[in-house]
Each structure stands twice: as C-alpha cells, then as structure tokens.
Symmetry: C2
Subunit: 239 residues, 2 copies
DNA sequence: GCAAGTGGTCTGGTAAGCGGACCAGCTCAC
DNA sequence: GTGAGCTGGTCCGCTTACCAGACCACTTGC
C-alpha cells in the first residue's frame, strides 16, 4: 500500500537544490555496483574530477560520504578501494537501505510488468541490425560472467537498457534512466538466488530471438514471462 | 527516431547543478498553465516564497525570467499578473517551445499507450471508494469547465493522475510526476481541437465506469481507446 | 632511494541563495 | 480624503557549495 498522498496533484512541490557531491556519490555508487568488485580500486580523485567535470573537492565530499556508510576505503598513497560488503550485520546501512526499500521492490516489479512487455514489442518492431548485435554481445557477456559463478548484474541491466534503446522512444529511455538506481536493487537481489542466473539468461535469449525476427507479440510475451519469473523469485524470498 | 545514443548505458553522466530559480520558474509556469487565465494575479512573492520554501530573491529571479519571455507582468503595488498569450507570432517563445518538442509529443503518446492501459487495470483492481468518488468529482469539474467553452486542461491532468494514484503504485506516481511537464504540452494542444473536449470527457467516463465496477480488462481497453483517440487528433493536426 | 602517483589538507575566490530592512506604488475601508 | 496594509523594487551582509590550485604525506615500482 502506498503512503497516503494528498488529494490528486499538489499544485507545488518544495524545491530542493541538488548538491553536486550527492550526484557524484550516486554515480560512483552505481559504478561500484556495475563494474567493480570488493578490493578493486576506484579511479583516482583527479581522474574522476576530470571525467565528471567537477572539482576534486566535490569528488572528495562524495567519497567521504561513501566512506561513512562503509562502502569504500580511501588509502593514502594507494587509492580508494571498494570494501567487502558485509551482508550479514543488520547494522550494515547498505542492507538496511535495501530492507527499507522492500515495499518499493514489489512496486518496481509491478511497474516493470507494465512497461517492459510493450517496450519489447516496440523493440521488435524498430530494432536495427546494429542494436540487435549489440544485445547479442551483451548476452554473451552475461553468459561468460555467469559461467565464472558471478552475478551478471551489469549485463542484466545493460540488456534491459538495450531494449529500451532499441524501442526508439527517448521518453521511455529518460524514465528508465531515472529509475535505474532503484531497479538495480531488485536486480542485484534476484540474481543471487540459486538457479536464477540460468533462468535469467534463458529468458533474455527468448526475448532477443523474438526481437531478432521482429515478432512484436512474441517479444511482448517473452518479456512478460521473464519478469514474472523475476517476480516469483523476489516474492518467495525471505529477507 | 531518437537521437543517436552512445552504446548502451554510459558509465557516467556529467553532473549539473540545478538552480533554484529555474525550478521555481518551472513550477510557476505550470501553475499558470493549470490554474490561471490571462489577467489573473499570481500569488504574492512573499506567499510563493513561503509555499515553495525558498527565499523571496529566488522567487523574484524566477519571475524576472518569466517576465523576459513575456509570460507575466509584475506591477508594483498590485501584484504580478499573467499576460495575454500571443498565440499568433512565431516569435513567441512559448509556441516555439511547443514546436521544438513536436518530436517528443509522439514519443510521449507512445509512452502513455504503454503505461496507462495497464495502469487503469490496476486502478480497477485497487481503487478505494474514496478514490473513485474523487475521480467522479474531477469529471464533474471537467464537464462544468467544458460547458463554459474552456479547455479543461487541469481536470484532464487530474483525472489521469487520479488513476495513477488509485493504482496504488508509488513508483508509477513518481514517474508520472516527473513527466508532467511534458505531458501537459500534448494535452493542452489536443484539448483545443474542435470536438475533442466532448470525446475526452466521454472517454474518461467509460474508464471510470470500468474502474468503478472493478473490471480490470474493461478499464484497460477503455484507456487504450481513449489514448488512441488523443493520438489520432495529435497526429492528424498540422502545427 | 627516488620519481610518480595517490589521498589529505589548506587557502582564496566566486556564485547562488538566504534573510532582513527599507522604499515606492496601489487599494480599500473608514 | 487619508492612512493602514497590501504589493513589487532595491539593497545589504552573511552562509554555503563549489572551484582552482598549491603543498604535504604516503605508497609503490623501477
């Protein structure tokens, strides 16, 4: 059940200035989730400042935040490394954040159930040969990652993002983009469940096959089934 | 066709700090579109500052911007009034903004086609008696406004927003919320077309009727038809 | 051991926003 | 009328976030 909201559309929202270091923190967090393992080194502060087009101070503010929540550990002279994720302790703010979002997870899944099947249908209609081969590469990466016993979180995200791209609708892209932060939570969780990884890969393959032969209805159906699989896992798992 | 985007998901986005007065300007602009007519007075600067929780300086910066594009006219001692919209001139930045977004309009419609039918289905399943009567009130307001020969822009927005509320999915709500700025453009336009207003009201009534008897499939179908109507109008109109 | 790279610290400067005070113009009740 | 109470117009000083650069302390690899 959602939080009670004021009647219909409120005329105004309070305005909040966004802080650069918060944005930076989000992006670094995303990078860690997608591309880095515990023990890996972050790009240097000066490098990040260059890439993100902000000053080093802002990078440092962001890193200090990530350090405080225990995600990262700066070492003078060496670099900033990604810390082991302490999944057990309930004092772990990371796990807590996940739990707090538990209500959101089902809503997110529901949202995906609404949007992704028709999205897959449009991808089937509009995908270019180039986009299809791009997605094929992604699935190969997913297979490789999983064969090494790792969770292919980044690849899973890339695949679904690739479909949004291939749909040719930039509005959807924008939406998916802003929801990425939340999406990755459900994804990370479900991929760690036993036997889930194989099922995910198979689902992706079915979807891509339908897209490849430009069969919109089949793509839609395959996507629906895929997301229902994810849903089943998530709902039947105790947190 | 969307702008060419870099291969799949880019690792980083450049970070931009938002400016409070720009946000304020957006909200005031929205208020004008939704609730005010030319000649109406804006809330006083001090009042707006209180509501939006920003300083009066920021409100003033925003109003200056709206004054520069000719949307609004501050009068010392009286208040700030909404100016007549000069619809004809192609030098009108308002109309230009609409045209520039022309490409977006079809994509937005497509997005709505994806999301709103399943959303209506969920609303049919989850809507409380209170939410339903809320939507009934909105439709009565829409009827009243249209009977006076005016475009019921605010009511149209409220109705669709009400459905999102009744669906009980806060994620969807968040998405709709952030897209509101764009949505209002397609809506404003389509409602001004001859005969469109009646059709819109009828469509809304059918949707609400289905929701009221908790018929998810009928709600979905009615919503799909409603949006296709809108789409037809928009696509067949020369800008 | 030393050069090169890293994070740690500090300083000076800029821009946005805040909060408050005061002025000038309009309106309306008395 | 006229004055009280609104309104927008202007100015000031302060704080915060951010930037740019310099320098230090530490680690590592040659």
């Amino acid at each position: 059940m959602p939080a009670p909201v004021k009647s219909v559309k409120p005329d105004f929202e309070v305005i909040r200035r966004n802080k650069v270091y918060e944005e930076v923190a989000k992006q670094i967090e995303r990078l860690i989730l997608k591309k880095l393992k515990p023990g890996d080194k972050l790009p240097s502060e000066r490098e990040l400042a260059e890439i993100l087009q902000v000053s080093r101070s802002s990078i440092r503010d962001a890193i200090r935040g990530l350090e405080l929540v225990g995600l990262v550990e700066p070492r003078q002279g060496t670099g900033t490394i990604v810390r082991e994720r302490t999944t057990e302790s309930s004092a772990n703010p990371f796990a807590n954040a996940l739990k707090r979002r538990q209500g959101l997870v089902t809503e997110l899944l529901d949202f995906r159930k609404m949007i992704e099947p028709p999205l897959a249908a449009r991808a089937a209609a509009n995908a270019t040969a180039e986009e299809i081969s791009e997605m094929e590469e992604i699935l190969q990466r997913q297979e490789k990652t999983q064969s090494q016993g790792e969770a292919a979180i980044a690849e899973d995200a890339d695949f679904h993002y690739g479909i949004a791209l291939a749909s040719g609708n930039s509005v959807v892209l924008k939406v998916i983009d802003t929801l990425m932060d939340l999406l990755r939570d459900t994804r990370e969780h479900s991929l760690q469940v036993e036997g889930r990884a194989q099922k995910s890969l198979a689902g992706h393959r079915r979807i891509l096959a339908a897209i490849k032969r430009h069969d919109a209805e089949a793509a839609k159906a395959a996507m629906r089934r895929h997301i229902e699989d994810v849903e089943e896992i998530v709902l039947n798992t105790k947190f």
